[in-house]
Amino acid sequence: MKDKKGWRELPIGTIITEPGSAREFKTGDWRSQRPVWDANKCSSCLICFIYCPDNSIKIGDDSKMTGVDLDYCKGCGICANECPKKAIQMEIEKR
């Protein structure tokens, strides 16, 4: 906390002057369970991508699923629940 800016240095009215700064807000550490993806079972149907509320399913240039972005995944488990191939398993997050 001590390294953060004091009240005199902040822009007024809570405005954020840098666009796209939400990227810096890594919500992944909220997670209590992590999705573990099995590439061998995955058919890249991208249903998980559509359902993921945190936009955390990574897709490669070839439109194939490439994994989960754990910086932002909050571990809700929706992807695991929706995957028709059972390619995602939820595991307890160990820190």
């Binding site: 953060k4 009240w7 007024i12 809570t14 666009p19």
Partner: protein
Amino acid sequence: MKIRALTGNEAMAEAMRQINPDVVAAYPITPATEVVQIFASFVANGLVDTEFIPVESEHSALSACIGAAAAGARVITSTSSQGLALMHEVLFIAAGLRAPIVICEVNRSISSPINIHCDHSDTMGSREAGWVQIYAEDAQEAYDLTIQAIKIAEEIFLPVMVSTDGFIISHCMQRVEVMEDKEVQEIIGVHRSPYSLFDKPITIGPLDLQDYFFEHKRQQIEVMNQSLPVIEKVMSEFNARFNRTYSIFKTYKIEDAEQVVVLCGSTCGTARVAIDKMREKGIKVGLVKLHIIRPFPHKELIELLKSFKLITVLDRSDTMSTMGGPIYVELRSAMYGCSQHPTIVDYIYGLGGRDIDVEQIMEVLLNGEEIIKQKKVATPIGYIGLRE
């Protein structure tokens, strides 16, 4: 300068026309309805360049105003009573986002019981929302202070509400000196927002958690701390230009007084007549009319009031704290920091539009003389014109 016969509502609408705000978003409510109704006719007749947004509630009205202010617009709305209550949530947001919005507020009691008449419980109930609060005594002040309010708001980037007493000011026709449009434009100048949604991408109103929320609130406290000199500056510029005498509070015959009455709003006129009559009897009383309730000018009031024998506060609302009305509670709190402690008493009056007259105030002042003589206060909080 023109001399016109205007009601308080007409005076505020006229000030709005001359300010020519970029956006007005509003919803009607008695007794403030006319302010925007008249303004809407200015819009319809092409007399202003304003984007007028008729919304479905006061909550939406102030929300739309915030959006407009975020885009860098000059913004005004008007409301009263329950309308201000419905805005309550958004009042805090406007202040926190430092949106320089002006509300032309017409004071009216808050339900329940249902009542449409004047008291100050609506705006006094919003004291902690972070808005500058200015109280007018008559239609002329309603006009002048609306113009000053937009300038104050835009200098410190805080929202400002200007209050007039419902019906007593809002609906009574009075003599009002109206400036030329050009003069009003010259004094308010061009509004320059330090940020705008249109300049470059910015985020307004983000989530602000344990790490920064406190710092942002401290900023808000600081701008309130620093607002009084700005308010004084705007008032003195206005005074110099239009030959007026505005200040954060105004005194009347206090020089040799032993007892002073402290109050705000339309009853100041009634109280001045009472003071004159008391002085005819040789009783030394004076009056302090408060224009600014937020920020509360505590240092200045201590300096002004510390050497009187008795301060008689008249409050047109109650705090329901069992400690009296808001002006009394705050003034007593302020005076605690002063080495001299004049006696302070409070009278609640005029709730729900209950009439108050010269004789009633004279009676209060006579009670005060008795307190000074006896050096004893039997009941510090009294009620004027209430049936027991």
